[in-house]
Symmetry: C2
Subunit: 286 residues, 2 copies
């Protein structure tokens, strides 16, 4: 895939990495960055993530073949809807949001068919900001692309090719299916990590060793970003919490009964899943 | 501290690391290893973790100044009680178990005052076995030493000096206080990681990205080892589960009410704790 102009709205960890990866891999003739505040444009330019920076989206979108909106989830739909009128008829929009149904529903029907396809590259970390951007962030990671029955297949194809060009393995899912899956694989683990960190008494910080640090690492993520994600995926996260609650109850009953067979079984099931995942990135050697 | 003879019972990840660290740092004139099966003694010797290997504890204990029992928690007390009669009057015993109250209660009163002091170095990982042993495993880590009112202070001092000589920062706590603390910092996170891994449907493995992998990493630990830990620390783990349940309920209510202020607050509290811990090991730069 070769785009003439790629526009990235929001140049933090993900947007900066999209720009770096696209430039490094020759996926776009040039990369335009849109950001308020303007300071981050200078930094994005100096690390090589963008060729030109814009505080206003309109002129950057007017020249774009593809616009990737990389803002927190609660701003994505509004950014897309505000920017779309400035694009050409062929300008395609996608995003990188960790939730999809609310975003896709808000955009679908308000834009011409083929103007928007939702995406979620499963990359990133508890870190935030351009200083952690990485041209290889998407390499061998999964990028979920979420068409609906009304999405133009040619647009889906172009967005899928874009993520593949950045090194990702593309998986197609409906927005709702995506949201239920990431509720279990990402949002619930985040919530639980935050709960574990939140109940650690300050006088026991020095007793938190590697296990605690691994288990709670994601809880260092930006609260406002995650509040937006949880709110947009409320029903799936609540369903995931129910499922966790059932599993915790099995552990509780086994502990109360001092039932070593059940404890061993529950821990064995978990080990089997965890061993199957391995320590590598998704898509690497699997 | 300089011991003439150190005996390590069990030469897996922790026992092997104790031997490697003691030899590398000149903490002991020689290190004797005890293990059934005998194969692991050959490997322990070849990696430099022990000077001599014994299948039977008796002769290795007879020559020891200090015996460190590094078996799964459900075998520690029995190993100590069986080995103690073979030691000299001055032979001191300690262990590395992740639980302390059950072990210390089982040993206290059955051995002469000053013969045993419980320890728990907060090191190790979901990995197991001698191949992961590391001479620096205890460097800058916390080692908890758990005297009771009946423990000889001179023995406590010697055990504390031993862990310090291996590079650890020693913290003294009662066995019960230790168990309540690690229920929150280690056992509950392990249980939750196992619950999260256990409810991941197989068809969603490919969607488990870095966050899920970090959060569930410890669930790869050996089920039988962890069943023993959970059983020995049942009441503190159940209390920790209650605390987690209360916190999860706050999240649930905030989600149900779509209450962004409370979500933000809960996530912010967690981030504050997680940021305070940092990504380094306990004791490093803190």
């Amino acid at each position: 895939m070769k785009l003439s102009t790629l526009t990235v709205v929001g140049v933090g960890l993900i947007g900066g990495s999209v720009g770096l990866a696209a430039r490094r891999r020759g996926v776009a003739g040039r990369v335009l960055g849109v950001s308020r505040p303007a300071e981050s444009l200078g930094r994005a330019w100096s690390v090589g993530a963008i060729d030109e920076g814009f505080v206003d989206a309109a002129p950057a979108v007017a020249e774009a073949d593809l616009v990737v909106v990389c803002t927190p989830v609660d701003h994505v739909a509004a950014e897309v809807l505000a920017a779309a009128p400035h694009g050409r008829p062929t300008t395609l929009f996608t995003d990188v949001g960790s939730t999809k149904a609310v975003i896709v529903r808000a955009v679908d029907g308000r834009l011409p068919r083929g103007a928007f396809v939702g995406s979620h590259p499963l990359a990133g970390s508890e870190k935030r900001g351009l200083e952690h951007a990485d041209a290889d962030l998407f390499q061998d990671r999964v990028a979920v692309v979420t068409p609906t029955p009304s999405t133009d297949p040619a647009a889906v194809q172009r967005v899928a090719e874009f993520w593949q060009a950045l090194g990702a393995n593309v998986v197609l899912m409906s927005p709702e299916e995506h949201d239920r899956a990431v509720a279990l694989t990402s949002h619930l683990p985040h919530l639980v990590a935050a709960a574990l960190a939140g109940i650690l008494p300050p006088d026991q910080h020095h007793l938190a060793a590697t296990g605690f640090r691994d288990t709670t690492r994601v809880a260092a993520g930006d609260p406002s970003v995650w509040t937006g994600i949880f709110r947009q995926n409320r029903s799936a996260v609540l369903a995931a919490l129910d499922r966790l609650g059932e599993r915790l109850l099995l552990f509780r009953r086994a502990l109360e009964a001092d039932d070593s067979g059940t404890l061993d079984h529950l821990l064995g099931q978990a080990k089997k899943v965890r061993d199957a995942l391995g320590s590598c990135h998704p898509g690497q050697g699997q």
